[in-house]
């Protein structure tokens, strides 16, 4: 199966200049093309057998198998888990319990008071998540909008500033959590600074309210660059002449913002809002690595509840975890449908 893929590949790899790129491509080709040629043999047979248009299914097959096994089948099985009890993972060994898992989860004297609920941890997680999402999305979209507006002005080194606000998006959640844990610890740099100014330090992550507040902060810090980027693109899509006309009419900057920028940006704002909500509801990684859900249950969110019921605790209550998952899935499906609808609307108009 030897093959000539041009001189770049067969010649010894040049070490500098433009040639190195070509030889890298050549190297890739040299590895890939024998494989691809090998696949071509059965594919050609299938093409003769099925005809060109039905061959599409062969191209789709690997992806459909993956989606089927790891995306669709789980949805159906999730329902099966939610309606069965016990701590066995094998469905055949799980007794059918009907809606009992849902009843357990929703058995509350008052939904506003988690202590009155049978599964009080679930409701704590629900309320924590609700508060977290409200605060986080509100603050984050607000700051993203402010940052996007500032970046959209005629400023120097815009690329640099944009990159600065964006780079935390790429950091892994565990790294983000550790960075801030290191800064916020009792003998950390923030407390040293506060002691120096005379305000006095504090053991932030031991206090329930502060741990929650810092979780919101950390999450905003890590993700706002992403939304800033989308909002900036939205701002740049607003035609310049609209602003020029406003300047001609001597409209005040505030009026320009309220009457031109905000209305024209609102489709983008909506998309950003819904996206942020979808991700906010699923918050787990960074907060779990940051506080572990504590102190107590102060920063335990809904995904952590699912994780702990289903995987971390003993007995493993797969049924409860699956029932809670279905409830989250319901919220997410609604939000995603709204998102798709918004996308289509903004694409049409």
């Amino acid at each position: 199966m030897t093959e000539t893929t041009g001189q770049g590949a067969s010649a010894p790899a040049p070490t500098h200049g433009r040639d190195s790129g070509a030889s890298r491509d050549g190297l890739v080709l040299r590895v890939v093309s024998p494989l691809m040629r090998l696949v071509e043999i059965p594919m050609l047979g299938l093409q003769r057998l099925l005809g060109i248009n039905r061959l599409a299914w062969v191209f789709l097959l690997p992806n459909l198998v993956l989606f089927g096994l790891f995306a669709f089948l789980p949805v159906i099985l999730n329902i099966a888990y939610a309606t069965t009890g016990g701590d066995n993972v094998l469905l055949a060994d799980r007794p059918y319990v009907g809606a009992r898992n849902f009843v357990t989860l929703t058995d509350c004297a008052s939904y506003l008071d988690p202590n009155s609920c049978r599964e009080d941890k679930f409701w704590r997680a629900v309320w924590n998540t609700t508060w977290f999402v409200t605060l986080q999305v509100g603050i984050m979209v607000g700051f993203s909008l402010l940052t996007a507006i500032v970046l959209n002005r005629e400023i120097r080194a815009r690329g640099f500033f944009r990159a600065v606000f964006f780079f935390p998006v790429l950091l892994s959640p565990v790294v983000v959590a550790l960075i801030w844990k290191w800064i916020l610890q009792r003998e950390g740099v923030l407390n040293a600074f506060l002691d120096w100014t005379g305000i006095g330090g504090y053991n932030w992550l031991v206090d329930a309210d502060w741990a929650f507040g810092w979780s919101v902060f950390l999450s905003v810090w890590a993700h706002m660059g992403f939304y800033t980027l989308i909002l900036l693109a939205g701002l740049q899509a607003i035609p310049r002449d609209v602003y020029e006309a406003a300047t001609m009419d001597r409209a005040s900057p505030w009026r320009v913002f309220r009457r031109i920028t905000l209305p024209l940006l609102s489709p983008t704002m909506l998309v950003v809002l819904v996206l942020a909500l979808i991700k906010g509801v699923q918050t787990f990684d960074e907060v779990y690595a940051f506080t572990g859900g504590g102190p107590g249950t102060a920063t335990t969110f809904i995904i952590q509840y699912i994780y702990e019921e289903g995987f971390a605790g003993a007995p493993r209550l797969f049924g409860l975890a699956a029932a809670a998952s279905l409830m989250v899935a319901g919220v997410l499906v609604v939000l995603t449908l709204v998102q798709l609808w918004l996308n289509r609307r903004s694409a049409d108009g």
Binding site: A80, T147, I306, A322
Partner: protein, 350 residues
């Protein structure tokens, strides 16, 4: 300094700065501080010794107490500057501390032992990078194993995803077949089911396939993301069909059209998807946390998370490991910033 100031304060129109310009730059520099300082602080701290990390208030740069090796003493001795008493101004090496007094010797005269009040001495310190934090990772902490696990998962999952997604995108963009709309709707459907809400059944499937506690249990389910199919399909739709027809005239097989024509022509979109996939898999946490329960299978993210529990006091190793975990992504970002930004903006992140 004044040139920087002049550069920054000049506007494009050449006019004087309005107060809103000052406010903008103020905001941006505050942002630079808030976004950069935590990472800078992490990197600086990772070069401090465990003793230096315990210091409160902390110093900005890493410092280490100087030591000296003297004839007749096996261990290096810590150096102190004497600030009071009869030996004031001298630099002495400490042998041991006894209560409130310290036994010290003059390095120039190692035979004579001196007794000094501990209040009269300050350690001699110099800026030193504690590189042993990093070298220790390779010896004591199995860092290479976790690094390999992370790399293997990232590379394999990205390759599988690129291959399957590009094949599916090719079929969905270049063929007219019955059921195409249904498949497209199904793909949109997967968009609504993030991994986080199907953890339990996914766990069963992965266990049944024998992939529990195996790296493949993270790789294979990770490849089932619809984002790539969308991204690549949108791009392939812009490739004119005439090119395909011409290739078919020349009796090229469909597979050959896929990998000799469509793949090379979609290279920009594939590059964007590859960067995104590398980022997702490298940073993955929840699903690996469920599937990989034995420490020899841990990814870097899992190792970091478990170490912060175990090594509550070992910040030096933990910080160095955090820096090394962040490094590959930081490099990717530095070189490919533009692609990442456009890629993320066009796909809606994940």
């Amino acid at each position: 300094m004044s040139r920087t100031l002049a550069f920054l304060t000049a506007t494009r129109g050449g006019a004087r700065l309005h107060w809103t310009d000052w406010a903008s730059y103020g905001y941006l520099f505050l942002g630079v501080f808030l976004m950069f300082f935590p990472v800078v602080w992490l990197v600086l701290s990772s070069f401090k010794t465990e003793a230096d990390l315990q210091r409160y208030p902390p110093t900005f740069l890493p410092y280490q107490q100087q030591t000296i090796t003297l004839d007749g003493y096996a261990d290096p001795l810590p150096l102190f500057e004497i600030t009071g008493g009869e030996h004031e101004g001298k630099i002495l090496a400490q042998l041991r501390r006894v209560g409130l007094r310290a036994q010290m010797v003059d390095p120039a005269d190692p035979e004579t032992r001196l007794t000094i009040d501990i209040g009269d001495r300050v350690p001699v310190e110099r800026f030193t990078l504690a590189t042993e934090n990093y070298s220790d990772l390779f010896g004591r902490f199995n860092f290479l194993l976790y690094f390999w696990n992370s790399t293997f998962i990232t590379v394999t999952a990205t390759l599988i995803m690129l291959l399957t997604n590009s094949m599916a995108a090719f079929a969905l963009s270049k063929y007219q077949f019955r059921g195409r709309t249904v498949v497209l709707l199904l793909v949109i459907g997967t968009l609504m089911i993030p991994q986080t809400v199907v953890l339990v059944p996914l766990f069963l499937i992965v266990t049944e396939l024998g992939m529990f506690n195996s790296l493949w249990g993270v790789i294979i389910p990770g490849a089932a993301t619809p984002t790539g199919v969308f991204l690549l399909r949108q791009y392939m739709l812009t490739i004119p069909d005439e090119i395909l027809d011409a290739a078919r005239m020349d009796k090229a097989s469909e597979w050959k059209i896929y990998w000799r024509i469509i793949l090379p022509l979609s290279a920009p979109a594939i590059a964007v998807l590859a960067i995104l996939a590398i980022m997702w898999r490298w940073n993955d946490f929840l699903w690996p946390l469920i599937v990989l329960t034995q420490s020899e299978n841990f990814t870097l993210q899992l190792a970091l998370n478990s170490f912060q529990g175990e090594l509550q006091t070992q910040w030096s190793a933990l910080l160095a490991m955090t820096v090394l975990t962040l490094l590959p992504i930081a490099m990717v970002f530095m070189f490919l910033q533009k692609y990442i930004a456009t890629g993320i903006a066009s796909t809606g992140g994940k």
